[in-house]
Symmetry: C2
Subunit: 414 residues, 2 copies
């Protein structure tokens, strides 16, 4: 057996323990949180090595910042684990049930997934966040982080495993793949004998690679080419505020918008208001010909590629459309299926947009930035699914469980 196969078999064994661990999981999570705080210095020391390697490798200041851990961030990691411990147990919910005419009593009950694989990139806090969520959901987890954070991740995983062992749990409830070569990621995607689901967290390149190569069922997360459509009936000020918030409050995240579509009848009024807001943060506008005719030559001509891209930056594509149907067609063509918004005062158009736009979250008169597990009240989030199978939109603890049927009889045969 390869190293990863052994890791998979051990995780599967640990997952059998977790299936019936019940509320003992909370005590184990609190022990993990305590251990993270107690070993804060070790974590920061390991992280220093990653930071030094990152500086030598010429990582950007933004990436170095995502990688860096200090006492406050380690404390935040521990607090995150404690928050997960405090959430309701997603396992053992009776989802539905009935008694059949033949007397069989059928229940559909939420159960752990088994073994969850997470492939992620630079941020080391994902190591404890993801492990805590999987544990609480009753599953063992195999983590495979990026090479930039390998020293931090190794230290964090060891501290978690030791704490679990002390708490009477199999340490293999949490495992870290320390080989950060591309080959180890590929092998993890083939580990269908042991892994029940694989969740990639990171950029579009990582996610596409996992979707295309995995034999393990995948939950696709996080790519967000999101839109605001400003209807001809929209309140222009509300439209400008929503566009400004959705674009600029945090441009690097997946629920930020990349394109605004404006109804032709509203364009003369609305576009200058939107531009006035965006100018406050020097947002670059790439617009269609009609947009440029209204806003002037400072607007860069938009290309086909601009509509298809996730800028994740202070750049916004703008297109004037002739109707709500054109807006819906544009979204169907270019959207990644994450979050879209209509700004409107028309009841009929609000109904049409929410019915016809096929994305995980469809808003009327609100910023797309609300697509988030915390904002939706899920308590915590493992990612935002942009696929239609299993979970769609923000995924909390419930989405990390499966279900089974339990059928109680007294000798029924068919």
């Amino acid at each position: 057996m390869t190293t990863l196969e052994i890791m998979g078999a051990n995780a599967k064994k640990a997952s059998r323990f977790l299936m019936t661990a019940g509320s003992k999981k909370n005590a184990a999570l609190l022990a993990v949180a305590d251990a993270l705080r107690a070993h804060c210095d070790e974590i920061i020391e390991a992280n220093s090595a990653d930071i030094k390697n990152g500086e030598d490798a010429g990582l950007t200041p933004a990436l170095l910042d995502r990688l860096r851990l200090d006492k406050a961030r380690v404390d935040g990691m521990a607090a995150g684990v404690e928050q997960v411990a405090a959430l309701p147990d997603p396992v053992g919910r009776i989802l539905e049930g009935k008694t059949l005419d033949n007397g069989l009593k059928i229940q559909k009950v939420s159960v752990p997934m088994g073994v969850i694989g997470i492939i992620y990139e630079a941020r080391p806090n994902v190591t404890s966040d993801a492990a805590a969520l999987c544990l609480k959901a009753g599953s063992a987890v195999i983590l495979r982080g990026g090479k930039e954070a390998i020293n931090s991740n190794t230290a964090i995983a060891k501290i978690m495993r030791d704490a679990l062992k002390t708490a009477g749990f199999p340490e293999d409830c949490v495992a870290l793949v320390t080989d950060t070569s591309r080959a180890s990621a590929t092998e993890l995607m083939q580990l269908s004998e042991y892994l029940d689901v694989l969740i990639p967290r990171g950029g579009a390149g990582l996610i596409t690679s996992v979707v295309n190569n995995s034999k393990v069922p995948v939950i696709e997360t996080g790519v967000g080419n999101c839109h605001v459509y400003v209807d001809d009936s929209a309140d222009p000020d509300m439209a400008a505020q929503i566009v400004f918030n959705a674009k600029t409050s945090r441009p690097s995240v997946c629920n930020a918008i990349e394109t605004v579509l404006v109804h032709a009848a509203a364009a003369d009024t609305v576009l200058p208001k939107i531009k006035a807001e965006l100018d406050k943060k020097n947002v670059e506008i790439r617009g269609c010909e009609k947009t440029r005719a209204i806003l002037g030559d400072s607007v860069i001509p938009a290309t086909e590629d601009d509509y298809a891209r996730e800028f994740l930056d202070y750049i916004l594509a703008v297109r004037v459309v002739d109707s709500i149907d054109d807006a819906i067609s544009h979204i169907a063509k270019y959207s990644s299926g994450h979050s879209e918004c209509i700004v409107t005062s028309s009841y009929a158009n609000s109904q049409k947009f929410t019915a016809c736009v096929d994305s995980a979250a469809v808003y009327v008169n609100a910023s797309t930035r609300f697509t988030d597990g915390g904002e939706f009240g899920l308590g915590a989030e493992i990612g935002i699914s942009t696929q239609k199978l299993h979970a769609r939109g923000p995924m909390g603890l419930n989405e990390l469980t499966s279900n089974k049927y339990i059928i109680l009889g007294d000798g029924q045969i068919r």
Copy 2:
């Protein structure tokens, strides 16, 4: 674009129509049913060509029987479509909802998948059954049946498409891949731009191939290595009746059992009763040494492979185990995760077995043969999922839908 890409793009377009088709779907389904009856002779004529080709190719009588259509079977296909029309619409259910403190009203609503691919084998009635279920669930469907039934499938698909067109629906709501080469199946598995989910229906070889090669999310169905465990506290007669029913009432289906595990303390009493029942249908028993010591040399020695196999025949593996824990471990090692049963009179053991056995359906004192969409009251069934993502166990119309969040605001920003 290739033929399949064009088919995919057309299906995607048709799926946009279906998203908001509402109860018009029922009228279209009834039109399809009428058309199947009206064109019964055409279907039977096309089927005759398949039967002749099958005879020439030396298909077994059992396979020829599965392939054959007559007036009664075509009528059954039409009746099946009518039954689907009569079921409640799985689209538009409000699954949950709440109002956040900031006034946003969030609803989680069931929506169509979009485009569903079905890869299946010999039986031509799957063509109308699967199409009807997908249509009712608001999704377009791309069907790719086996080469043995290509003439029948082509005739059935054409009749359905014509009927849909007459009913005012895009004919591309239903499409059939007429190229039955392995290459067309492989290309369908790569069609992730257009397909939202792919469901293989057939034998273990087909399903493994789809799981291993698909870039489209897959729902794994149907392989059933199912077990009955007879506890030391079991009623011996109930145990014998359940084993006999679960093995022999229809050995070729996935919810039939392949292995019986008997507690050592009950083996002397229970095994002869089980054998007496099984002898009525000449079931071949392959047993462990302890089984052979009790039942005699007519029992064939069981190999490791016998425990891992889905016989789908009048063959049963039998093993004597020392404890319920040994039974649970055996099932964890060999089961395909479909259906398992404990026969017991112990409350504690019933609780332990249902908690610790990780399969789609876990029974206490009832035959595994009840794992079926019809028996579970789902109204219809597209297959039985043995994976943990999205759906597990019998899949009805609800399991053919996805969901989205609709969020209503009045200008909220974050």
